[in-house]
């Protein structure tokens, strides 16, 4: 169409345009309405047609595990003819949505809980289920179950835990003639190995010795005093945690510093490791993906190096019941089903069960690599839980900020920790949320 034609068309049609646009608008409107009616009509019916008790079970919406969950729910519904559980997948911002639902008193009856457990349980969001779980001593990992206790009462129950382990490239260790990491491995051995495994080429690092962050618990560092009233930040344990990582990043150059990381999300530790560009990472143990992604070299897992203490960074996964659920008895039944050893066995693809015997069975089922599967069971004993403090999120943010600054070399550890401790005191002291 030539420009001239176009212009004439426009001016000459000004008046008829009205009729055309009327047709157009009405047409689109009708089509939209029809589409809406059709979509509405084909929705799954959620109004009760029988006398079954309805429970909602919330979980994050993710292609991974969604089908397993649906199977679990179907199985539960079959075994409990008086209850109908509906699985609700929450996309993206899981805890944001939960917050809004709690605010609107529409919280799901039973919900999946991960790292948010500390924040929600310390606010009394959940039903106390202590009396429903009479646990025979020694059958469960106490460190894991403890993550679900608040003021000594169970506020939910863990299905299991997923945690960080040391993952190393066996080929690179053998090529460098280094002994493989074992249970007696110390922080100094680890540092030496990391230094020797770093390969430079023309000023650029081609292969990092290590990529990650050793859990502060290994250095004996903690957020708060045991009664959670005092900060424990401005202390030698945190100092040695920071110093150790500064040495790795700047003195030895065996670990990428904050400046070298294009961004934790784009090239996360696992991606770097899969590509053979890091000899060791301390990262979440993700059995399936790791087996799928590594084919070029032999690899194994090891315990975190021994420092002042043993500790592994972890997050537990489990379930809790909303305090205001109209059907507490049925909800407890669902909770018990979801954390029962048989269910834990089925979820073994995703986590290490909180039930000792089941954990052993699940780990036995895993095929190698990795060889050293005992590490998984050992790590369960030394999980380092977050303090269940209502202001934990704010504290974590303050500490994270300090770590970022110090580990980029922009702030010295001592003043950094002093400032962070001051912020902790301010946050802890503030009257109510």
């Amino acid at each position: 169409m030539t420009p001239n034609l176009h212009r004439n068309h426009l001016s000459a049609d000004r008046v008829p345009l009205r009729r055309n646009s009327l047709f157009f608008t009405t047409g689109v409107l009708t089509a939209t309405l029809l589409l809406g009616v059709w979509l509405h009509a084909t929705r799954t019916l959620r109004t009760p047609t029988d006398h079954r008790v309805r429970l909602s079970l919330a979980r994050h919406y993710s292609s991974l595990g969604m089908e397993t969950y649906q199977d679990l729910v179907d199985d539960f519904n079959r075994r409990n003819p008086d209850v109908l559980v509906e699985l609700q997948g929450i996309p993206g911002s899981y805890y944001n949505k939960l917050l809004v639902m709690f605010a609107g008193r529409t919280a799901p009856d039973v919900m999946w809980m991960g790292q948010g457990m500390a924040q929600f349980s310390s606010r009394g969001a959940f039903l106390d289920v202590e009396d429903h779980f009479r646990l025979p001593p020694g059958h469960y990992y106490e460190s894991v179950v403890d993550c679900y206790r608040f003021n000594g009462r169970l506020m939910g129950f863990p299905q299991g835990a997923d945690f960080n382990v040391m993952i190393y490239n066996q080929d690179l260790f053998e090529q460098a003639g280094l002994p493989l990491p074992g249970p007696e491995w110390t922080l100094e051995d680890f540092r030496k190995a990391a230094r020797q495994l770093t390969v430079r080429e023309g000023g650029q690092v081609r292969q990092w010795g290590f990529y990650g962050e050793i859990d502060p618990g290994v250095f004996g560092a903690a957020y708060l005093s045991p009664d959670m009233s005092q900060e424990r930040i401005d202390r030698p344990e945190w100092r040695s945690f920071l110093d150790f990582h500064l040495k790795l990043a700047f003195e030895d150059g065996s670990m990428p510093s904050q400046l070298d990381i294009p961004g934790a999300r784009i090239m996360n530790r696992r991606q770097v490791f899969y590509r053979g560009q890091a000899a060791m990472i301390y990262d979440r143990f993700d059995f399936q993906t790791m087996r799928e992604s590594i084919s070029d070299f032999r690899w194994d897992i090891a315990p975190v190096p021994k420092g002042a203490h043993r500790a592994s960074s972890s997050s537990t996964q489990g379930f809790a019941i909303a305090r205001n659920t109209p059907h507490p008895a049925e909800a407890v039944r669902l909770l018990k089903y979801l954390v029962a050893p048989e269910t834990q066995r089925r979820m073994g693809r995703f986590l290490v069960p909180s039930h000792r015997e089941t954990a052993r069975l699940v780990v036995e089922d895993l095929v190698s690599p990795p060889q050293n599967l005992q590490v998984l069971l050992d790590s369960m004993e030394t999980l380092n839980p977050f303090p269940r403090h209502p202001k934990i999120s704010e504290l974590q943010q303050a500490l994270g900020e300090t770590k970022r600054l110090v580990l980029s070399g922009l702030q010295h550890p001592a003043p950094g920790l002093r400032e962070c401790a001051r912020q902790f005191r301010e946050i802890l002291g503030r009257t109510r949320p």
Partner: protein, 301 residues
């Protein structure tokens, strides 16, 4: 003279091509990534071409794109997992149709109601006009973060949580669109309005015969903005829906994101591509109305 004009035109073209290229780059990267395998997305030297594997595949089997089983797009479109309904569209196609419905309904509603209100603010005089307009303007200045929970509670009181209208209605009555169209209606020369009035045109006639036709570009703009905004909206649909037969594309695509695990990048990128294309189509359709200059004479007659 002609040669000068030609070289200038050439310069303009050249500049545009250069700038447009830099704008297109991330989109190109997205497109390329959506065709790669899981492991190749973030190779250390990000490959800017789909790679030899793909090239060979295309040579071997030119129609590979449509029936490859490992292909990201096929995988995406075939995603059926229990999403929603017992009958009717399921899975990805349901997310897509939901998004189409949300976007169309919201856009239509915005254009209709905003243009009416904007006409009143721009072209009618009534007591309290400026005050009311300022109230509209003022609500734009409150961040949605703090009105989200009150809005949710309001909808719960209405019994609308997890319904189509809960997603659509609150997005329709926009102060943004009203403010924007008001500004455009203000630019319509008073002489045209006066002439129509003398011919006995009522305010409704002025709105329908003068204001709307003379503001087609502005209406197209609002339509594009409204469409794109509702097509991409994430937070509000997340808050008010609870069953996945109501999800739109941005909600549905979080399936491939995982909570602690690595996102499935190629699938996510393929999803982003599918999400972006309809917006481009709407933009191209809408920008047709941005053609040079209105003629006053055209409406006078």
């Amino acid at each position: 003279m002609p040669s000068r004009i030609n070289s200038r035109r050439f310069l303009v073209y050249g500049l545009l091509v250069l700038l447009a290229g830099s704008m297109l780059f991330p989109f190109y990267w997205m497109a390329i990534s959506s065709l790669k395998g899981k492991a190749d997305v973030f190779s250390t030297d990000p490959k800017m071409l789909p790679g030899r594997q793909l090239a060979e595949q295309v040579v071997d089997d030119p129609r590979w794109f449509f029936h490859s089983e490992t292909d990201n797009y096929t995988q995406l479109l075939a995603w059926q997992h229990q999403a929603g309904a017992e009958s009717g569209p399921k899975g990805f196609s349901r997310f897509f149709l939901n998004t189409v419905f949300f976007a169309l309904a919201i856009t239509l509603g915005q254009v209709l109601t905003s243009s009416l209100a904007a006409f009143a603010f721009a072209r009618l005089s009534f007591p309290g006009r400026n005050q009311l307009f300022f109230a509209y303007l003022a609500t734009l200045m409150i961040p949605a973060t703090v009105t989200m929970i009150p809005s949710y509670i309001l909808l719960r009181e209405l019994g609308w949580v997890d319904t189509y209208q809960a997603v659509i209605l609150p997005a329709v009555f926009t102060a943004y669109g009203t403010f924007m169209l008001r500004q455009f209606f203000l630019t319509i020369p008073r002489e045209i309005e006066d002439a129509a009035r003398i011919d006995g045109c009522s305010p409704l006639g002025l709105y329908w015969r003068i204001a709307l036709p003379l503001s087609t570009p502005a209406l197209a703009t609002l339509a594009i903005v409204g469409f794109v905004g509702s097509w991409r909206s994430f937070m509000w649909p997340l808050i008010v829906t609870s069953s996945d037969d109501l999800f739109n594309l941005p909600l549905g695509l979080t399936l491939f994101r995982g909570m602690y695990t690595d996102p499935d990048w190629p699938l996510l990128m393929a999803g982003s591509m599918v999400m972006t294309l309809p917006m481009i189509v709407v933009f191209i359709a809408g920008q047709r109305y941005f053609v040079e200059g209105i003629r006053l004479g055209a409406v006078k007659g």
